[in-house]
């Protein structure tokens, strides 16, 4: 006699619960492996002095230069900071325009709708398939190297040059845009595209005029978000000698002019917040559903 089969009882801890547990364990292991101690979070005497002095100026950022010798006719610090902020925006914008070109071209090539829409066979199919594969590989290569590593590579190869900064940001950002663009296009509903294929429209037209417009609002919103990231990257490039906010910040910190450091920090924060607000509002308007 066989007992009737009972529905299996679900496990008490599901895959997600287990994942959560594993993550906590991984965190603890990392803590051990890195040889960290809670005491390490408290600065030593020298560090404490720096901290006291640095945080002491948090609410009183400098309005004028704190350097010991200020040559006459030096513009006020805020003007300086705004100039650096402006250069930060310019580097980010120029790099972003390059990244956008890379992203659009590679993103279209790397989307699979692009070649599954057609009814290509034989050689045509092989060529489109190969293009798709190459595009994916190029995207992965560009994305996997961090913009600062690109910057260091380019600096080592050609020395300090504007082009190095722009290309350093444009390559990984272009790759990321391409990846996201291709995913957005592939995820967009294809009903209209297939209907138009049924009405005899060629694949390229369907792709461009039925699939891309559907993904466009998300693509625009994402581009804005990436620009906000580009601002941060552009600021950090200053630490490597490019004339953006990072350069001023590092110089002021090194000369222990902490008031100035706070001025630059606040300007950077304000810059990012303005673009964060802008891109957030645009996203809400564009992506309505």
């Amino acid at each position: 006699m066989t007992a009737p089969e009972l529905p299996r009882r679900p496990p008490a801890v599901g895959v997600r619960g287990l994942t959560l547990l594993l993550l906590l364990v991984a965190g603890a292991l990392s803590y051990e492996g890195l040889g960290l101690t809670a005491a390490g979070l408290w600065p030593n005497e020298g560090g404490l002095a720096v901290a006291r002095e640095f945080f002491g100026r948090a609410l009183t950022p400098a309005w004028t230069s704190e350097a010991r010798f200020v040559p006459p006719g030096t513009p006020p610090l805020l003007l300086d900071a705004l100039g650096a902020a402006g250069r930060t925006v310019l580097y980010a914008a120029a790099a972003m325009s390059l990244a956008l070109v890379i992203g659009v071209v590679l993103g279209f090539l790397a989307s699979s709708s692009w070649w599954t829409l057609g009814e290509r066979r034989g050689i045509g199919r092989t060529v489109t398939g190969a293009l798709w594969f190459v595009a994916r590989a190029v995207i992965a290569a560009m994305r996997s190297i961090h913009e600062l590593l690109w910057a260091v590579l380019l600096l080592a190869a050609m020395g300090l040059s504007d082009l190095a900064a722009l290309v350093a940001i444009a390559l990984p950002y272009g790759g990321t845009l391409a990846k996201i663009f291709s995913e957005l296009i592939d995820e967009a509903p294809r009903d209209a595209g297939e209907a138009l294929r049924g009405a005899g429209a060629p694949a390229l037209s369907v792709f461009t005029f039925a699939l891309v417009p559907r993904a466009a609002p998300d693509m625009i919103a994402y581009t804005f978000y990436r620009f906000e990231c580009a601002l941060r990257s552009s600021a950090v490039l200053g630490f490597f000698g490019f004339p953006t906010l990072g350069l001023e910040l590092r110089q002021s910190f090194r000369s222990t002019n902490y008031g100035e450091v706070w001025t630059y920090l606040y300007v950077l924060i304000a810059l990012v917040i303005v673009f964060d607000w802008w891109s957030g509002r645009l996203r809400r308007r564009l992506v309505t559903t």
């Binding site: 209209a192 049924g198 009405a199 005899g200 005029f209 417009p213 559907r214 466009a216 559903t289």
Partner: protein, 259 residues
């Protein structure tokens, strides 16, 4: 302009192991208006998609204006398709484009890529006039420059019809275009399509769930059940019992293979 004619000769379609259509013979002459009726899964959509070559038959031949679709070149197939308007069940409009652009996209099959880019981004006045006239005919001229997703279900249907008409089709295939609107709206749209068919000599083939509507609006009905043609007759000759037979699934069938 004369309407398209269609012919199915011993056509069967199998999707993997599932027989969607079995051994169907059907002739539809130029300028006819035919309704396909039958329950879900009876093969109506497959039959319609055979007619514009978006489904390939597993056996048999499909002819459009006498040409066998499996023998024409890819280029020629596109030409044939560009003369066959298709209004799918889900309408398949691009929601975030304006109505005018959705209608214009009906002619993508006849434009080169650059021509299409120009027509959609900066349409010449002559084209806009044509679109407006069509929208006027289907009753939504006011919506010319509205975003498509701001329209009601009935209005969107009309836009989909206008897009198909903008192809200047000789045949119009409609796959349950009225399944998602209220009965009054459905009647209006079906009437509109049959009127257009007779006034422009466009061959019309439409699949419908609503039998009363089909009988009232179409001169010829084709009944499908489990992939076979059960009846094919002038509407007045179809006995009332035939309709019930289409939908009456025996218990055995329901429990059996779930078709």
């Amino acid at each position: 302009m004369t309407g398209a004619s269609f012919g199915l000769e011993g056509v069967s379609v199998r999707f993997d192991a599932f027989p969607a259509l079995s051994d169907v013979d059907l002739r539809i002459d130029a300028g006819e208006a035919v309704a396909l009726v039958g329950p879900s899964g009876s093969g109506k959509t497959t039959l319609l998609r055979l007619l514009n070559g978006t489904v390939r038959p597993s056996a048999g031949a499909v002819r459009v204006d006498g040409e066998r679709l499996d023998e024409v070149s890819r280029r020629r197939l596109r030409d044939i398709r560009s003369r066959l308007g298709f209004v799918p069940q889900d309408l398949a409009l691009v929601p975030n484009l304006r109505v005018v652009q959705n209608v214009l996209s009906g002619r993508l099959g006849r434009w080169s890529f650059l021509g299409a880019a120009r027509a959609l981004l900066a349409p010449p006045r002559a084209l806009v006039r044509e679109v407006h006239a069509l929208l006027d005919r289907v009753g939504v001229a006011e919506k010319l420059y509205q975003r498509t997703d701001r329209l009601s279900g009935g209005q969107r249907q009309r836009v989909a019809v206008a897009r198909a008409l903008f192809q200047e089709p000789s045949g119009l295939l409609a796959d349950e275009p009225v399944s998602s609107v209220d009965p009054a709206r459905a009647r209006d749209t079906v009437r509109l399509l049959t009127e257009l068919s007779s006034e422009r000599r466009i061959t019309l083939v439409m699949s419908l769930h609503n039998l009363e509507l089909a009988r009232a609006a179409f001169p010829r009905l084709v009944g499908l059940r489990r992939g076979r043609v059960v009846f094919d007759a002038p509407s007045d000759d179809v006995p009332a019992g035939a309709f019930e037979a289409l939908y009456d699934l025996t218990t055995e069938e329901l429990l059996g293979d779930g078709a």
